[in-house]
């Protein structure tokens, strides 16, 4: 039952406020973690065998009677489901200790679960309008979560995020309305076949421009990235991890790629625009990160830069590029959430996010420093960690596609990445211990558990990445690279 992916977090989110009345901490902690663990295991054990022979459409049942909810599960959506579940499990684990300081844990978990339900719904649907709808579910929950601290910064960030995001959603919906007006359908299959018979490339181009802007804003592509450096640092650390780790990818990259590759079909024009935007993101993000003093803001800019790589890889549209892009998406989900969680641990222990005030924390927080070093090296693309392989795949794909200049620029961007991560690592964890932090303690158990888990995954995946590519990425990439054809098979829907 794939439907459980949506309904379980939704029901639990509804129950959370009631549970919060009974038990302030224990029950919400337990249930939220149990849910995430269930989703993670479910996605690996139950859902994976379903797609052994390609995508399936599953119908939901209501008391034995079939109802009109048909969920599309294929390699791509399963891959995203797995990524979401993995990161959110780490995040809930981390939240057990971290969210104590904010209070209202039940409310927090309810919003987090809603966000996950929204993302899962987005990933599983096969209908344009539902994409918009579930995107909004996740987005509304994320506005509240960004502002969860109720401080001035949080509210300011959340307001800008909301206002820009609302415009983006509006443009996405406008584009959907136009397509609805042209084809009269909303399902992927109906739209794809309708557009095929209509042959109106300029209007489709206009619509893809609107989608690009809308989903690009959710993805934080330059020049639509402006909300991200405000919103991601202001959120509580687990939410930063969630937003940077998965939300921008699900509501941005997934939706964009699903529509462009499987519904519209990738045109050379789109490839050009996507690669240029990806490149711009890489550089703007990296250069802006270089000048940051706030550790979380630096990480946020770095997200822009890394998502640029993902878009660059996917935008090429060749099978290798798609694999590289998806792999980088997954890796970025791992190490960026790891780094945000570490930044949260540092902030909780020291009370500051400013890199200038830190220094030598490795002596007091060895585990945090070590995991953070793994994350930094991985994101900077140092072999044999996972980030290296995905960047390598993207660069090889660029060379294969005869885009040598872009390949060179991608390498250059990676060098800048290494630069500012060395700055981060050096200023925060190495060097002389600042006297202020003599009594700083290592992060509590669950927080360390989450970061260690992610760091270990970074290393293990770096070592066994061919297996990951074979079992998880290849089916996803097959779906994307087969283009519109795969969607037209579901035309009966």
């Amino acid at each position: 039952m794939i439907f459980l992916f949506i309904i379980v977090p939704l029901v639990l989110a509804a129950l959370m406020p009631l549970l919060g009345k009974i038990s302030k901490r224990f029950l919400p902690d337990l249930l939220a973690n149990a849910t995430m663990l269930f989703l993670l295991v479910f996605s690996v054990i139950s859902a994976k065998p379903l797609i052994a022979n390609g995508g399936v459409i599953q119908q939901a049942f209501w008391f034995g009677a079939p109802i009109n909810i048909r969920l599309l599960l294929d390699g791509f959506s399963l891959f995203m489901l797995f990524t979401i579940s993995l990161v959110s499990f780490a995040v809930t684990l981390y939240s057990i200790d971290y969210m104590e300081q904010y209070g209202a844990k039940a409310n927090y978990y309810a919003l987090l679960l809603l966000m996950i339900a929204g993302m899962n719904g987005l990933v599983l649907t096969s209908d344009l309008f539902n994409i918009y709808l579930f995107l909004e579910v996740a987005a509304v929950a994320s506005y509240a979560l960004v502002a969860f601290g109720q401080g001035h910064d949080e509210l300011e960030a959340s307001f800008k995020y909301l206002m820009l995001s609302a415009v983006a959603s509006a443009f996405i919906l406008l584009s959907i309305a136009i397509i609805f007006g042209l084809t009269g359908g909303l399902g992927f299959g109906a739209v794809a076949s309708g557009l095929k018979t209509l042959n109106i490339k300029y209007v489709v181009g206009f619509c893809s421009g609107l989608f690009l802007m809308g989903f690009g804003l959710k993805t934080a592509l330059v020049p639509f990235h402006t909300w991200l450096p405000d919103a991601h640092p202001s959120a509580p650390a687990p939410i930063s991890a969630m937003l940077s780790g998965v939300l921008i990818k699900v509501s941005g990259v997934y939706a964009m790629m699903r529509i462009f590759l499987n519904v519209f079909g990738l045109t050379p024009a789109l490839t050009t625009v996507l690669t240029v935007l990806g490149m711009a993101s890489i550089f703007v993000g990296a250069l802006a990160a270089l000048g940051q003093k706030d550790i979380k803001r630096m990480l946020a800019y770095s997200s822009i830069s890394q998502v640029g790589y993902v878009i660059l890889g996917l935008g090429i549209g060749t099978p290798l590029g798609i694999i590289g892009g998806l792999f980088h998406l997954f890796n970025h989900a791992l190490f960026k959430s790891l780094l945000f969680l570490n930044a949260g641990a540092v902030e909780q222990s020291t009370g500051t996010r400013s890199l200038d005030q830190m220094g030598g924390l490795a002596k007091r927080m060895p585990l945090t420093a070590a995991t953070s070093a793994i994350g930094s090296l991985s994101i900077a693309g140092v072999p044999p960690l996972n980030g290296f392989w995905s960047k390598l795949l993207i660069i090889i794909a660029l060379v294969q596609a005869k885009m040598h200049v872009l390949a060179f620029l991608a390498v250059l961007g990676s060098v800048i990445t290494l630069w500012y991560y060395l700055v981060l690592q050096h200023n925060a964890f190495f060097g002389k211990l600042n006297d202020t932090w003599k009594s700083v303690k290592e992060a509590p158990f669950w927080m360390s558990a989450a970061t260690v888990m992610l760091a270990l995954l970074c290393i293990i995946i770096g070592l066994v990445f061919p297996m990951i590519i074979h079992s998880w990425l290849q089916p996803a990439a097959d779906v994307l690279s087969s283009g519109v054809a795969v969607t037209l098979n579901f035309i009966g829907f």
Binding site: N68, L111, L114, N130, L133, A144, G151, H152, I200
Partner: protein
Amino acid sequence: MHLFLMIGLVAFSIMAVLSRDLLRSAINLAVASIFLAIIFFRMNAVYAGVFEVSVVAGLITVLFITAIALTRGDQEVVENKRHLLIFPLFFLILVIIDILVMKNLLGKIPAMVSSETGTFGEVLWKQRTFDLIGQIGVIFAGVLAVLALFRQGEKNHHGGKE
């Protein structure tokens, strides 16, 4: 008639933007909503029209007015008067571009035939069931968001950064 309603809709929207009093803006917006609702009725979209009137013209306006009342009394933000001059210019250019583009498009978009049967309820329940799940999610999210934002800090109130 359709055209007049449309023009009315746009006009009240513009007034909502340009009006310097927030309360008046909100009311103008509600009026624009009513115009939209009438357009919906004329286009056979009865349910959407009812919803537009009750929710947008009603609920959202109430929300706006509550918010305005809650925030009033502090430093008032007065919009620049120049908008009264700039906006018509902007709007004129907009209309010209709009007319040119639309004229260009007239008759160029091919039509697709699609027909449907059943009643509104059937469609909503049988065909777009998934939307209902999404709606439930959005409503939950909105409610929880408001709860989260207006919660009284328990201990360790984090938001003390004024």
